[in-house]
């Protein structure tokens, strides 16, 4: 019984350590990769450019269109009155 308990504690500890390592790894990955953030936008423009081929220019209007096409509806956002006075 005691052996089983020790084994369970050992594996529990391993799982906790592994998950902690993954978190810190992800964290350093996040801080280190400058292009990580706009990945969605990045991907969209790549797709668009591949599709168009002949005209790879991207304009501000394209960016707006991309934003709209990928939109998921109106997101719940705090109102300005909760932050500012006028």
């Amino acid at each position: 019984m005691r052996a089983w308990l020790s084994l369970a504690l050992f594996f529990g500890g391993v799982v906790m350590l592994t998950s902690a390592c993954a978190t810190s790894e992800e964290w350093s990955d996040w801080k280190g990769h400058n292009t990580h953030f706009a990945s969605g936008t990045h991907g969209f423009f790549s797709l668009r450019n591949n599709r168009d081929g002949s005209n790879p220019r991207v304009t501000r209007t394209d960016v707006e269109s991309a934003r709209q096409e990928n939109w998921w509806g109106k997101a719940i956002t705090v109102s300005p009155e909760q932050i500012f006075q006028n």
Partner: protein
């Protein structure tokens, strides 16, 4: 071909306009400026009038040169924090960051997401705002404020209601100047700043944040992006 009576044609066009969904809406740079009539004090109105041209140029710069960001309509102006008793006006910009679902971002605890967003976009926006000397040196400007909103990870999935996380920070001019000149540490900067986080509509309050150097917003270029003719993006 059978011709339609103008009234019938007009009706059809109106119906089509009301029924057909989509229609991309573009918020022009001038839409970002807080309308003059919304200011409730003479001080606010005077600031908005005096610096309108410069703020419009700033808005155009964000619109044309930082297309991955957008200023919320009417949210670039001079405003006091909600809880202020005095009419201290902060030059403020509320930015939406187009951050899509991302596994690494989603894995971060909320305060880390705030730290990442503020370090990446907030500091750079404050730096750009501080680069408007004629505005900042106005004696009626008490400080600067940046508000950042982004999609809360996991909330844009089908069947979920999308939620934005919003971080609002206010800082006095002197501290910001010293921080940007590296004479005040990031820790001291956050100690002196007033800031709060909202999870959707819910106030989370002051969360522990870390600020580090991140050059993304000042160096990132959208592949093949071309600003409009006549616009130069440094």
């Amino acid at each position: 071909m059978r011709r339609l009576h103008p009234r019938v044609l007009g009706g059809l066009l109106l119906t089509a306009a009301l029924v057909v969904p989509g229609g991309v809406t573009h918020a022009a740079p001038e839409d970002a400026l807080m309308p003059l009539e919304k200011y409730t004090t003479l001080k606010g109105k005077s600031l908005a009038s005096a610096h309108r041209t410069r703020l419009l140029q700033f808005s155009q710069h964000i619109y044309n040169c930082l297309p991955w960001l957008s200023v919320y309509p009417g949210e670039l102006g001079f405003r006091p924090p909600r809880d202020n008793q005095s009419d201290d006006r902060y030059l403020s910009t509320w930015i939406f960051v187009d951050q899509r679902e991302d596994a690494v971002f989603a894995a971060l605890p909320q305060e880390r997401r705030v730290s990442a967003m503020f370090s990446r976009y907030g500091v750079d926006m404050l730096r750009r705002m501080a680069g408007l000397p004629e505005v900042i040196e106005d004696a009626n400007v008490a400080g600067l404020s940046v508000v950042l909103s982004w999609l809360k990870p996991g909330t844009s999935r089908p069947g979920r209601q999308a939620v934005n996380e919003t971080f609002a920070l206010f800082i006095d001019k002197g501290t910001l100047r010293e921080f940007l000149a590296k004479r005040v540490s990031a820790e001291e900067f956050t100690n002196r700043a007033k800031f709060t986080l909202f999870d959707g509509l819910d106030p989370v309050g002051r969360v522990p944040i870390e600020v580090w150097e991140d050059s993304f917003n000042s160096t990132y270029k959208v592949t093949n992006y071309e600003p409009p003719k006549g616009v130069t993006c440094p």
